[in-house]
């Protein structure tokens, strides 16, 4: 038995090595390089041999130490479960301390411009994740084109602000309404479709919006993008070092020294508040009939229909509300960057937001925060390894689906429990 097993393991790892050679041999081993405008092949055999050896030996070790025992690979799920339980029991305290931490974060001694920028970016993604969580997590509609609403929000904010000169606080709700209208417009025809068809159609819509932005030059300036988007002001007080004649700015009004960090801190609080509003809204709406209908629809559409829930309208509300928060986040993005172009709204952005929601555990608000910190942190730390970090990112999506298909925090609490004795 033992000997047979060893023989099998050796054979199996040799086979793995062969497959690895076939996979990595041509693509990694024969790099095509342009030389004098003609492609030539640069062999890189050393790295292929290395990868193949790692695959074969790794497979052999896995055979010996993991598959030999009959026990199942059950350890991964207990970690997530214990995190989940911990968050369930201590949930409120953790949430409050996280909020307090994020409120005092800008004034901590180690906080500098770089950290603030990352924090603002993370909060933007958290907000997008929370917005998409309404669509994916609560209503169970896989939307692969969420970035379209983000783009609609950003562009409508930018166009309103540039052409009409309206202030941030007027443009923000307008951008949200615009994005929600787009959500209804796009959602109306497609929401009858089943899960995976819906995913592909939303993806197609996302791409259509991007192509439209790229080619409608008169309105969007195409690939050049929109520049000179007005910065937000603190209730009418702009952040400027040199105010115009007779104009009051933030620092003169409060009698402070001018400091460019003031604007960054203001932006930080702005997105923090927007994100928290999104979260609060989601928590509250879950307890309303519409929120209950979303979750019921996610679990069983036919049962819902027979109980008199109108699936189309219910899904459409989820789509529109999710889109609205995407639009809010988009207008924040536009005002923060002061420059937007279709480059910022590619499919990969949608994939990142979907990954945030899925990794965190669909429907879990805390999970979104955890996975955003993890994923955006990962992307930020490996900034210099562009494609490697995306390989890790895609690989993480696959692994999570295999080992924790309901996300890191998969302990989904029922929203309502009948009051029985146990």
């Amino acid at each position: 038995m033992r000997k047979n097993f060893l023989k099998f393991s050796v054979k199996d790892s040799l086979f793995t090595g062969l497959i690895a050679l076939a996979l990595f041999g041509p693509i990694v081993g024969l790099r095509t390089v342009a030389k004098n405008e003609i492609l030539i092949v640069q062999p890189k055999w050393l790295i292929v041999i290395l990868i193949v050896a790692v695959c074969a030996i790794g497979r052999f070790l896995i055979n010996l130490y993991v598959f030999k025992r009959d026990q199942k690979l059950g350890n991964q799920s207990t970690i997530g479960k214990s995190i989940g339980n911990f968050l369930d029991t201590k949930g409120t305290q953790i949430a409050i301390s996280a909020i307090i931490f994020s409120v005092i974060f800008p004034f901590l001694p180690f906080t500098d411009r770089y950290l603030m920028d990352i924090a603002i970016m993370m909060l933007t993604y958290i907000m997008l994740g929370w917005g998409l969580n309404i669509v994916i997590g609560l209503a169970g509609l896989l939307d692969l084109g969420y970035v379209a609403f983000y783009a609609v929000g950003a562009y409508s904010y930018a166009l309103f602000a540039i052409h009409f000169g309206w202030s941030f606080w007027i443009c923000l709700p307008l951008a949200g309404i615009f994005a929600a209208m787009f959500g209804v417009l796009l959602g109306f025809p497609v929401l009858r479709l089943r899960g995976d068809y819906l995913a592909i159609v939303t993806l197609a819509f996302g791409e259509m919006i991007r192509i439209l932005l790229l080619n409608w030059y008169e309105l969007t300036k195409g690939p050049d993008g929109l520049t000179g988007i007005p910065r937000p002001s603190f209730f009418g007080l702009p952040f400027k070092s040199f105010p115009d004649e007779g104009e009051q700015t933030f620092h003169t009004f409060f009698g402070l020294e001018y400091n460019p960090m003031q604007r960054i801190i203001f932006l930080y609080y702005l997105i923090l508040v927007l994100a928290l509003i999104t979260n609060l809204f989601t928590i509250k709406i879950r307890k309303l009939p519409i929120g209950r209908a979303w979750e019921a629809l996610r679990e069983d559409e036919i049962a819902c229909k027979s109980l008199g829930v109108n699936p189309r309208n219910t899904k459409l509300t989820a789509f529109a509300i999710g889109a609205m928060f995407g639009g809010f986040a988009g207008s924040f993005f536009a005002t923060r960057q002061a420059f937007i172009s279709p480059e910022s709204f590619t499919f990969i952005e949608s994939a990142i937001i979907v990954a945030i929601v899925v990794l965190g555990g669909m429907g879990s608000q805390t999970g979104v925060v955890l996975s955003t910190v993890f994923l955006i942190g990962l992307i930020e730390v490996f900034r210099d390894f562009e494609s490697y970090r995306m390989i890790a990112f895609g690989g993480a999506m696959v692994l999570i689906m295999i080992f924790r298909p309901r996300g890191i925090l998969a302990t989904r609490k029922p929203t309502i429990i009948l009051n029985n004795k146990d």
């Binding site: 095509t32 092949v41 896989l142 497609v190 009858r192 995976d196 192509i211 390989i391 689906m401």
Partner: protein, 305 residues
């Protein structure tokens, strides 16, 4: 002039349609057998194009005759790309057979990101240009002011597609493997009880789909002469549209859908607007899915409680 222009678009459309049709078969077969959209299939096509490109570059250094080069490249691309299809299925989809419905789709999305960035890391982000492999062709209707040309390459592409389709149809309708596949489509549990290795049948489905996609990749790199690591995304969506248009799950439907999508795209860019040519395919996708979800040759999908 008008007729000549139309004829030229028709020729180009059929060529492009052959490429889309070959990719669409992979989508439709996988959907038929395990009911998932293999989102990474477009990137398998891209890998196939890269393998073919590398093979062409290496053969260009030797003095082997052109027909043999073409045949060898075809085989090399099919074999190596099939390995990718097989591995992707084993790693990312097989563990998820019993998972919830959207899990394989998300996993496929992850796999697509992995493949794109892996090729980008290994081969560089720059576009790759291949010198034309097959040159020359026929021209006719020269007197009308617009010369219609039919290149040897286009003839080659269409002929190879027809040839592969013929072999493939025989494989599905006449052999034991084809019967096993059709049985798996209907009921996997019953098929397993009848003594058919379901896992192996699914693996073979992925291998066939990937090798056909690699042929499409080879033709793409020969036809356009320019590829990069991102071509799989758009080509994948268009081929998926083709599969849906023809009726997902139906193999003749995939070919028909591919031809139609190729023609729609070419005529759209020839007569309406070239900037919005990708929107044409997306619009077709949306319209078909909403009003016509079974496609031309598909079976209606009845939901049972």
């Amino acid at each position: 002039m008008d007729l000549a222009y139309f004829l030229q678009q028709l020729i180009n459309g059929i060529t492009l349609g052959s490429v889309y049709g070959l990719i669409a078969i992979g989508y439709t077969m996988v959907y038929g057998i395990i009911g998932m959209i293999n989102f990474a299939h477009g990137d398998i096509f891209m890998v196939g194009a890269f393998v073919a490109l590398i093979s062409f570059i290496i053969f260009a250094l030797t003095s082997i005759a052109l027909p043999i080069v073409l045949l060898l490249t075809l085989l090399i691309a099919m074999v190596f790309t099939a390995c990718y299809g097989w591995t992707v299925e084993k790693l990312a989809y097989k563990p998820l057979r019993k998972s919830f419905r959207l899990a394989p789709l998300i996993s496929a999305l992850g796999m697509s990101i992995v493949l794109q960035n892996y090729v980008q890391a290994a081969q560089g982000a720059r576009i790759k240009t291949l010198q034309p492999v097959i040159q020359g062709g026929f021209t006719f209707m020269e007197d009308t002011g617009f010369t219609v040309s039919l290149s040897y390459l286009q003839i080659f592409i269409v002929l190879v597609t027809i040839f592969l389709m013929a072999i493939f149809t025989i494989l599905i309708t006449r052999t034991a493997l084809g019967r096993a596949q059709r049985a798996c489509e209907q009921d996997r549990t019953m098929t397993a009880l009848m003594g058919i290795n379901v896992d192996r049948t699914i693996s073979i489905t992925f291998i066939i789909g990937s090798s056909l996609a690699s042929v499409a990749g080879m033709m793409f790199v020969m036809y356009y002469g320019v590829i990069d690591f991102y071509i799989g995304f758009l080509a994948g969506i268009k081929a998926f549209t083709a599969a849906v248009l023809g009726g997902i799950g139906s193999i003749p439907g995939a070919m028909l859908g591919g031809l139609l999508i190729g023609l729609i795209e070419v005529f759209w860019s020839g007569y309406i607007s070239i900037e919005y040519k990708d929107i044409a395919a997306f619009t077709v996708l949306v319209v078909v899915l909403i009003f016509f979800p079974t496609g031309f040759l598909g079976k209606p999908d009845i939901e049972k409680v």
